[in-house]
Every structure is written in C-alpha cells, then in structure tokens.
Symmetry: C2
Subunit: 469 residues, 2 copies
C-alpha cells in the first residue's frame, strides 16, 4: 500500500560479528529467511512489510538482555514482537535491525490468587492467561479483540470492550520487568495495589511501544469472576439515539461491564455472514456483571434508559448460551465486515472523545464516509467515548486509499478539537506520529523526546516510532 514512509532509509548492513554472536547464543532460534523476516516486519496495519535483518526467538529475560547488549554495542536497532496484532505499523523495521520475538516466552511465572495478581512472561496471551487461571475463580478482563500477548498489550496500552468497567492496561498493570536500552534488567514496580514510590516507571513503559525498553514480564491485576453476568441488545432508529442512550447510562453511573455500538452497515454484514435477522439499524450490546439481583437491576435500568431513546426490541438474557447468541453479532463483526468487499483490506481507525461529544463525532464521521462513497462500518466501545471506523479499500487503488486516509485525518482532527485523543487504544506506531504532535503540541512532544533521549540515547529501541528523534 502507498504510504509516505522512507523504507529503511537509515539502514546499515548488519555487522557480521553481531550475527555470529547472536547465532552462537540463539542457534536455531535465529532466522534470516525472507519469509520469517517479512512476517516480522509487518503487522495488521495497511503498510507493506519492512523486514528486519534477522529474527530471534527469546526464551528468557536474560536472553533478551544479552541480545540487547550485543545490538547496543553495534548500534543496531531492536524491535520487540509479540503476537503481531498491532494496527499502526508498530513492528515495521524502518532501519532494519533485529526483531526479538517474545511469543515463546509464554510461561506463567506466578499466580497469586489470594492477592488477585498474576505475573507472566511477555509472550503469554490474554486467552492463555484466562485459561490458566480459570479454576482460581478469577479472570483478567482486558479484551482488545485479538488474542494479543500481555507484553504487546502493555506496550501499546491496549484496552477494548471491558475497559468501561475495568479500565485499560494503564490501570491493570502493576509492575513490569523491562530490559533497558543498555541491556540492564529493571523491575518497575511491586505487587502492592497502590504506591507513591517515586516516578511511575510502570506507566512510563506502558504505552511506550518498545521505544524505551523491552517488556519481558508483566504483573497484572485479576478480578473475581462475577457471581452473575447478563447481556442485553437493542436497536435504535438512528446512531444519535443509540449514543445518547449510552451517554445517559454512563452519566447515571450504571456500572456496565461492556457497551458496544455497531452501526447499520455492521449489522447488515453480520446478518449476511451469520444468517441473523437483526433489524438493520444501529445496535447496542450490553454486558452486566454483579450479583444475581444486581445484574437484573442494571438490565432493567438500562432498558428504561434505552426506551427513552426510542430503542426497539430490548432483549436480555443471563444463561451463557443465550448471552452468546445475543453477542454473536459483535464477536463476528470484524470477519463479517471483511466479507462486505472480499479481496479488499480494512483500514481501521481509532479515536476517543469526551463522551458528551461522542454522538457528534460519530455522526460527522459517518456523513464523511457517506459523502466519499466508502464501504465502511463504525464499531465503538462507546461507554468510553472510543470508536473505530473500518473502511474496506482496494490496497492497489491509491486514490481510494488516499480518500480513506483523508477521512481518518478529519476524524482524528475533530477528536483532537473536542479535547479527545488521536488514539484510544491502538497506539501511535508509525501512522499517528503527526497526530501526536497535533494533539500534544511541540513543547509536550519535546518532553517526550527528552525521555526518549534519556532512556535510549543511541536510538536503537524500535527507532522511528511514536516521536521523531
């Protein structure tokens, strides 16, 4: 796809001494094949791959530290790689270098069920974690959709559908083990639930996208599995009614666990894909966690609120199979959408606004998509003011891609004007570096740059991402 990136402009050839030193340590876990390099030089963004020079699969923090020390001594870039599910070009090897794949670092280190914490290696995925702790009566709520690794989720400050109730990785990471740019190993925090002990190193690395250090272990908060769960869905005559119902739900303090918006295009796609007969109107899906009585009370209250906003066909259920049926529309949304235009790719946007501006933000973006004749759908974690437009484009049609990018630009600019953010949960990567400046201003970016220079003086940690050197 046609993006204004200077591929490997600063790329230098990999020093032979480095390759052989890495080979002697990683043996068969070092790869230089084209296929492996291309795979690791691309994510789920629409960028063409930019492969690293080599890929190594690490098994321990010590191995990562050794690799970083070697790369540092040769001034060679290092890019951490988890599940490869990032969306903004986070893992592209702009300047070549070594990609450290952490997916085989998938060991549970400790589950402290009595403290509601777990410590895992960075490659453990959220599904694996939840499987491992299933019998403890606990769960880890952050659900970005993809089965991302905990290290990657921490590195991009991910969130998803449950964030409205449980927060994001920002709130749910207690501590990290990090390999710094000179190959030292630090722990950023403890298992204490709160702390005022100095600079918040944990949250400096959460969201730093591999540009300040490599996260090798993650300690997260766990939650007791709720006594009861109920789900509800309803349709609305228009997006505005749906969003206003959500705004009122949040303002009244109903502790919804999830509230997802799907526009009529998404519903149509789902109907076609799953042979459902949902009204082809904007849809809200709710999930409630609490006591038996509590989830009933929440569902009833939300039913009242949505009725005031012209909801159609409010349905709710508590049995797992009925809940799954109600939520089926959401779970398959992404794949159903791709079927709207087979052979095309999705450009997936992301922004987040103060909730009072959400209806306006969604409606203007919708109108923009319509005006430009896009094949699109809007999906939102609307309880947080966060939504995504998925636009299906022909990757070989430069003008269509440009049109989609222009819609994205306008959406993000409006979000920033509304005192919102250019990315609610996908991160900056390569794609949003200019928006980051627009959102924060040059002086705040300078502060970020100061931190980058201090913690990565050689600019070898995932260089060219988040901020310009």
């Amino acid at each position: 796809m046609n993006h204004p990136v200077q591929p490997n402009a600063l790329k230098k050839p990999l020093p032979e001494a480095l390759t052989s030193a890495l080979k002697s340590i990683f043996g068969g876990r070092l790869f230089t094949t084209q296929a492996m390099r291309e795979h690791h030089g691309s994510d789920e963004s629409s960028y063409d791959p930019m492969p690293p020079d080599a890929v190594i699969f690490a098994h321990s923090t010590d191995e990562v530290a050794t690799a970083v020390k070697l790369c540092s001594s040769h001034d060679v870039p290092i890019i951490p790689y988890g599940a490869g599910t990032s969306l903004e070009g986070h893992v592209l090897a702009l300047q070549g270098g070594i990609t450290i794949d952490l997916s085989q670092m998938n060991r549970m280190i400790a589950v402290h069920a009595e403290d509601l914490t777990a410590t895992v290696q960075a490659g453990v995925t959220r599904k694996q974690l939840n499987l491992e702790i299933k019998d403890s009566g606990l769960f880890f709520p952050i659900d970005p959709g993809a089965d991302a690794s905990l290290g990657g989720m921490a590195a991009t400050r991910a969130s998803g559908t449950n964030a409205v109730r449980y927060g994001t990785m920002r709130e749910n990471v207690l501590a990290l083990t990090v390999v710094t740019s000179d190959g030292r190993v630090i722990k950023t925090g403890t298992r204490a639930k709160k702390s005022s002990a100095g600079y918040d190193l944990t949250r400096i690395f959460v969201g730093s996208e591999g540009t300040l250090g490599i996260i090798t272990e993650v300690t997260v908060r766990l939650y007791p599995q709720p006594e009861a769960i109920s789900a509800a869905v309803c349709s609305f005559p228009n997006a505005s009614d749906a969003v206003n119902a959500v705004i009122q739900t949040i303002q009244m303090g109903v502790p919804v666990a999830r509230v997802e918006f799907l526009d009529e295009n998404g519903v149509k796609a789902i109907n076609a894909h799953d042979k459902l007969g949902l009204p082809e109107k904007p849809l809200l899906l709710f999930e409630f966690h609490g006591s038996e009585h509590g989830v009933k009370e929440q569902a009833e209250l939300v039913q009242e609120i949505t009725a005031e906003h012209n909801a159609i066909g409010f349905e709710w259920a508590t049995r797992p199979e009925d809940r799954s049926r109600l939520w089926a529309a959401r779970h398959n949304a992404y794949f159903a959408l791709l079927q709207m235009r087979p052979g095309h790719r999705s450009i997936t946007t992301d922004c987040c606004v103060p909730i009072s501006r959400l209806a306006e933000s969604i409606l203007e973006t919708k109108a923009d998509c319509e005006r430009n004749g896009m094949v699109y759908s809007i999906i939102g974690h609307v309880g947080d003011g966060n939504f995504h437009v998925l636009m299906l484009v022909d990757p070989h049609d430069a003008s269509e891609v440009a049109k989609a990018e222009a819609i994205n630009n306008r959406m993000v600019s409006r979000a920033i004007e509304m005192d919102g953010t250019c990315t609610g949960e996908h991160g900056v990567g390569l794609h949003k570096m200019d928006f980051l400046v627009q959102e924060h201003g040059e002086d705040a970016i300078d502060t970020m740059r100061g931190i980058k220079h201090a913690l990565d003086p050689k600019n070898i940690m995932n260089p060219g991402k988040i901020i310009r050197w």
Copy 2:
C-alpha cells in the same frame, strides 16, 4: 527533631537581580519574612523547618512560568507549595530558593458534568471541589484525610479511604497543565477517558513531587453520587481476625467503597476523646455505595464474612446521621490519638503490601511497637493493603525518635520483602529516598535519574527530593 539532613548545604545567596525581577512582577505577593519562610519550609513531617529565601503567591500558570524562567536563568531552586499537608519533608527548601505557593490559584476552570470531568487550578482543595460540584449530582472521591490541594494530591499520587473502590490520583487524573523546568507550559493529556497517544506524560508528573515540573492545573474524573450509601462497623477479638475478614471481602469481589481498620489503641483514644463506648478491640469500618438494594446486599454479605472471622456487634446504617455516628471513630481518630500523649508529635509511617501479607505485616509491626514500649496506634486503608503506624514521640528525646525511626525502617523493609512498597500514598520526599533505592534497585533508580536529568537538567525543581542527583 534530629534528622540526618544536611541543611542548606548547597545553598547560595539569592541573586539581587532575581529578587528585584520577582518583586516587580509579584509585588506584595513576594515575601521574605522569617515567619512566612519558615511556614513554607515545613510540612507535617517531623523535620525542623528549612526555609526558602523567599515565597511568592502565584495567581496563574503564566505567572508560574515567568517565575520559573527567572529562577532558571539564575540557577535558583523552585519548590511548589500547596496546602502544606505532606508528611515526608516534601517542601523543605534544602538548598534555599523560591517557594511558589499555589494556594491562591483556587479557581474552578471548567466542570463538564456531562463528561464526568472537572478542570481546576492546582490550589483548589478537594473539599472546595466537592462543594463546587455538589449540585451536579457528582463527586470527587479521593480523600487523603487532610483538605489537600488537588495539585499537591497529584504531585504526591495521594489516595486515602476511598481508593479501594475508586483508585488513587494515578487513576483519577486525566490531564495536567505543567510548567517545565525551563518555564514552558505543557498539557499532558486530554479529557478523553482513555488514550494510547504516546508516553504517559500525565502519570510521569503524577507522583513526581515537584521534581520534574510544577503542576498548575488538574483535570480529574468525577463520579455520580451513589443512589444509596450504607455504613457498617464491627469489632474483632484481635487484629488478625479483622484483617482476614477484609482479605476475604476483597477476594470475593465485594465492591466496598471504604474499609478502614483501627487498632485497639486507636479505639481507646477515640473512646476517651469522644466519650464513646466502643469495645476496646480492633475495629473495622465499612462504607458501601450502590443502589438501595445493592448496598443492603453488600452489607449483608460483609456481615456474613465478618461473622466467620469472629466479629462482635456488627452494626449497619443507611441514614446519614446514623452513618456519621458509626464513622465518628474514624473521622476524629488522628486528633484523638494526639491526645494520648499531649505535647508530643506523631511520626506517621506508611507502607502497602499485597493483601495476603497484610495480617502478618500489621502483626509484626504491632509486636515491634509493643517491644519498644511505644505509644502508638495502627490505622489502615486495609482494602488496599495500606496501613499507617502513628507513633507519639517527644521530639526532643533523640533516643525515642531514633527508636520510632528504627520501627519504621523495619516495617518498610518487611513491606519491601513482601513485594510491597515503601509508601502507599505519602510519597518519598526527603525521608524515604533510601527506601526507594531498596525497593527499586540501583538500575531502576538510574532510569528515574535519567528522567530527572532529562526534564530538569539544572536540578532546580525541588532539588534533593525522591532521588539523589
């Protein structure tokens, strides 16, 4: 009091040019009187005052920026001052310089009730904020006890009794306006509820205690006032039973809004001070927020749990006057404790551990106090694993002070060994710099130091606090 601090060792005389430049801007809001300087050179810690050379009262972010630029051009230290309620020597002017008092920056900038956010000048106190938003149906939950300023609370990453449900300043600050060490003004975030937009500047400044920049405006999250509130108290035969009841309550996911522990010494003090007839045993105080039915359900569940742990006399109430009566013991605890030994001062300690270690941590500390014949009480925000020992000492008795410090040292060292933190909510200031190293290790401290050097290259922002240069 006798602390190993080198008072004003690096102090240089204030340049005349700086004084006259500040005088021309701040006029009658610049003070050099002994009384004003001493007042601003001390907090509620047990340190003797270390006065700055001058105090200015700022009225705007621009004034703070101008003062910082002037001080920076003369390499003169700057110490921000809010309500003066910090506990670890945060505001002592170790190297002299200018204290900027922000208490007159007490203007509400914006309340966005529909978004559940408020933006205030740094000098607005939490009580003022809650008074100003009372009619909006919202409240700001963080309650550290003292009527601290929002700027100060952000700077020390404060929390208190409500944190178990609502989090700390870490979770509840959305954005800050900060004057950097070279006098530039940056905004660290937006009003979006979540964001993945680059390094988390907000959380770099939250908890930085004035050492990286001066917080002049704070945007916080607000919450809908709960539909119903209920309170409960009960006594226990021993501290262990009380703490174990709390542990089980948290592990079962009961969403308590507050749960406070008061040991038998505290109860005795309260009985004497307020003429109450509470059993002179360890006490737990609960508060529940939710729907009418929800708070009833929570209270009943907690009653069951506490009964299993041998609770005595579980009482609960929903009417405001009855709740106030039940909680009276907690509200007056600090002053009642001071009356246990009139004319003495309290050394107030702070640590936080994973909750499974809380009983052990409290019991060992209690035994240590007993062994050393201290007059003391233990108060805890036990739902978070956070507690304080208040030891009443004669400030002129060096051996007594040393004994108290030794108890504190052992308590903190044990907390760190338990994978807890040297400070749950009071911060590092001057007093806990060595513990910070013990907790994080030299390499992590180096990372913090790198950030300090990057953001304050002249070491003029509250120098000598948190980490050594």
